[in-house]
């Protein structure tokens, strides 16, 4: 067991993946000499060479598009998108090529790309540096989308993503980059929870609260705060956004009868919509109240001095829990 930050855990995961398979190459802007603007790839160019840790010209569509070509040639590229808001120039290559090539070639061509995206807000950054674009990719068939919430998962899931023969969008909770945790580096990958598994992060009995990425920490804090008031929240760390692992969520909701989903992305067609809709479909008779969404607003990400008003925090999660429990809350008395 080593204590390390989330960035260090990803770095260790990349290092391990590169050692395990010579076909793993890293590509992105400033990832080589600089080691990435968040230092996630620190030291890797030095140790693996500039042919495996590639500083690319400034062009996201080309980063993804040439990675597709490398995958054709049998490589397993790991692309870094510098910030969430810079993924859109690469959107076409992701949606029309990366996601579709396996189906287009009837399985002949595999696209084992990993696309790393630092995402989310709360770090006081200017526009385009705090976005949560995950829903776009969850809606795109042919991709897998995951997001770790802690160093151990960051390490393991990165390795699983690289090992997967499907393309994986790996969303890194940049607000938690410096959070430390214990990481078991040497356990066999096969012994770890599946990349696609949702995990109960804290057991509870009254309400099921589903979170992912940076908000898992906030959700756990909310559970602690609620416990003091006698409310028992079960926190589920979603981990895989596509496909969602419904079994543990259904199991939980069937016990609690109440679901709250939280994310930073805007409410409309954010992950919460899918979770609410699917859980309602599959657990309708168990629900005591309508699933509640505690999310960012449907606005472009605001200037950083306002971001605390946009982002779900502990209090807003508890307000959502109150809603799920039918207790007085921000929507009480609100006509439709």
């Amino acid at each position: 067991m080593s204590t390390m930050s989330l960035t260090q855990a990803i770095n260790a995961g990349l290092r391990q993946a590169m050692e395990d398979d010579p076909k793993v190459v890293l590509m992105g802007e400033d990832i080589g000499t600089l080691g990435g603007v968040f230092r996630v790839t620190d030291g890797l160019m030095k140790d693996f060479g500039s042919h495996r840790v590639i500083d690319t010209p400034l062009a996201e569509s080309a980063i993804i598009g040439t990675a597709v070509g490398l995958a054709y040639r049998g490589f397993r590229p790991v692309c870094e998108i510098q910030f969430d808001g810079f993924i859109y120039p690469g959107f076409d290559q992701i949606v029309s090529q990366v996601a579709k090539l396996h189906a287009r070639t009837h399985g002949k061509v595999r696209m084992p790309l990993t696309i790393r995206v630092p995402f989310g807000g709360g770090i006081g950054s200017p526009e385009h540096h705090s976005e949560s674009p995950e829903a776009y990719f969850v809606h795109t068939s042919g991709l897998r989308v995951i997001s770790p919430s802690n160093p151990q998962d960051a390490y393991t899931m990165l390795r699983q993503a690289v090992a997967s023969d499907d393309p994986v969008l790996y969303f890194e909770p940049k607000r938690r980059y410096h959070a430390k945790g214990e990481v078991e580096l040497n356990a066999p990958l096969a012994a770890a929870p599946r990349m696609g598994a949702a995990l109960v992060a804290a057991p509870g009995t009254d309400v099921t609260l589903v979170a992912y990425g940076a908000l898992v920490r906030t959700a756990l804090d909310a559970a602690t705060a609620a416990a003091a008031e006698g409310v028992s929240i079960e926190v589920i760390d979603l981990r895989s956004l596509s496909p969602v692992d419904y079994a543990p969520i259904m199991e939980s909701v069937r016990r609690t009868g109440r679901l709250v989903v939280t994310h930073e992305a805007g409410k409309t067609l954010g992950m919460g919509a899918e979770l609410a809709a699917t859980i309602t479909e599959r657990c309708f008779n168990y629900l005591e109240s309508a699933p509640v969404r505690v999310t960012g607003f449907d606005i472009p990400y605001p200037p950083s001095k306002l971001e605390k008003h946009h982002l779900p925090d502990l209090d807003r999660m508890l307000d959502g829990v109150d809603r799920a429990l039918g207790r007085p809350n921000s929507q009480t008395g609100m006509e439709d």
């Binding site: 070509g69 054709y72 042919g142």
Partner: protein, 380 residues
């Protein structure tokens, strides 16, 4: 606002390399000559024969579309020299990234007709295994494949292999950001990639002058990539130009850009009506530069084409066409449940559930009067 719809200006300033003129005369070109020194009668005949076959394929496929056997077809008429010359310059180990129009290239690369035609019939998205042919699937998103070729070539360079990747693209494609970015990456990583641009003068209804006021090959030097303009209706010159680029690629010279100046004599696809946007004069002008006619004249003048050989070429082309037709109309309709196949390489519980649901749904019609028919008919 002046919209430049004229021919590229300054075209004269760029040398258009040529080896066989429109009237069939062999002319000399310092750069290209060395690359066709080994070309003997057999090779010339095979180049000609392949062009005849490709044209025959085009005619047959167009007919099949008119007869409702294909959903769509993108004709190659007029571009046979560009397609045949370029693919003849490739080794089997080289990897090809085509557009939707390189169906002649696919045929010459060894693709089978159920595969080639299956795509245009609507049976499958792609009809061959890219690794069997070393040729990617047809690319519809304009320009996209140039990045794939560049990345593939970066991989070759990483491995230190002496092979290459070639991307086909159209004149219209050169406006896309992806094509630019592929040139930037190719130059930066000295990737062994050939950008083979068929300037067929049109992007659907848009003349090439709308995409560029100057010769397209003139873009390349701005990236530090040599750009060559070649007569795209001259199969020998195309062969030579691509061999020139291939040699550069194989010997560490990095990327090259070739503009093959040709003409799309047919519609953009069978869904297009070119009479809406271009006149007959232009067509006639280009008919005089026909790639097949000039090669035939050249061969006849050189005493290389006797009646028997020509009859053989024609018969072979007819046989190809017959095979095509037969293969095409006999492609079985895909099985309903295959709609869920090959989306992912690994397990996907959400999709599994949808599959199971649809299986049950289809099963619910079994044994009903008119079972399945409703399903067949109601979507259109």
């Amino acid at each position: 606002m002046t919209q430049t719809r004229h021919e590229p200006t300054g075209q004269a300033a760029m040398k258009m390399h040529q080896l066989i003129t429109a009237d069939g005369t062999r002319v000399h070109d310092e750069l290209l000559d060395p690359f066709v020194q080994d070309v003997d009668r057999d090779t010339l005949i095979s180049l000609y024969g392949d062009m005849v076959a490709v044209r025959r394929i085009d005619v047959e496929a167009t007919a099949l579309q008119r007869q409702g056997q294909l959903a769509l077809w993108p004709p190659m008429l007029g571009q046979e020299a560009s397609q045949v010359g370029s693919i003849h310059a490739m080794d089997q180990a080289d990897f090809i990234f085509p557009t939707y129009r390189e169906n002649g290239v696919a045929f010459l690369r060894g693709a089978k007709f159920p595969g080639i035609m299956g795509t245009w019939r609507g049976n499958m998205n792609t009809g061959w295994d890219p690794y069997e042919l070393n040729m990617a699937t047809p690319q519809i998103i304009i320009g996209s494949q140039t990045l794939h070729a560049t990345g593939y070539a970066m991989g070759i360079a990483m491995e230190g292999k002496e092979t290459l990747a070639m991307a086909y693209l159209g004149d219209g494609a050169t406006s896309q950001g992806d094509v630019h970015e592929s040139m930037v990456f190719a130059a930066s990583f000295q990737a062994p990639v050939i950008f083979f641009c068929q300037n067929n003068h049109w992007a659907i209804s848009e003349p090439v002058g709308l995409q560029s006021a100057v010769p397209i090959a003139g873009r390349a030097p701005g990236y530090g990539i040599p750009g060559l303009q070649v007569d795209g209706n001259d199969v020998l010159a195309v062969l030579a130009a691509v061999r020139w680029a291939a040699q550069r690629a194989r010997t560490g010279g990095g990327p090259s850009f070739i503009e093959a100046v040709t003409y799309r004599m047919g519609p953009h696809t069978t869904a297009d009506d070119p009479t809406r946007y271009r006149g007959v004069t232009e067509l006639e002008e280009w008919a005089a530069k026909d790639p097949l006619a000039r090669m035939r004249t050249h061969l006849v003048n050189a005493g290389m084409l006797d009646g028997e050989t020509e009859a053989g070429i024609s018969a072979a082309a007819d046989a190809v066409a017959a095979e095509l037709r037969d293969a095409c109309i006999n492609i079985p309709d895909p099985e309903p449940m295959t709609v869920f196949d090959d989306i992912y390489a690994e397990d996907h519980p959400v999709l599994d559930r949808e599959r199971e649901q649809y299986r049950r749904y289809l099963a619910s019609f079994e044994g009903q009067p008119g079972a399945g028919q409703q399903v067949q008919g109601s979507a259109s």
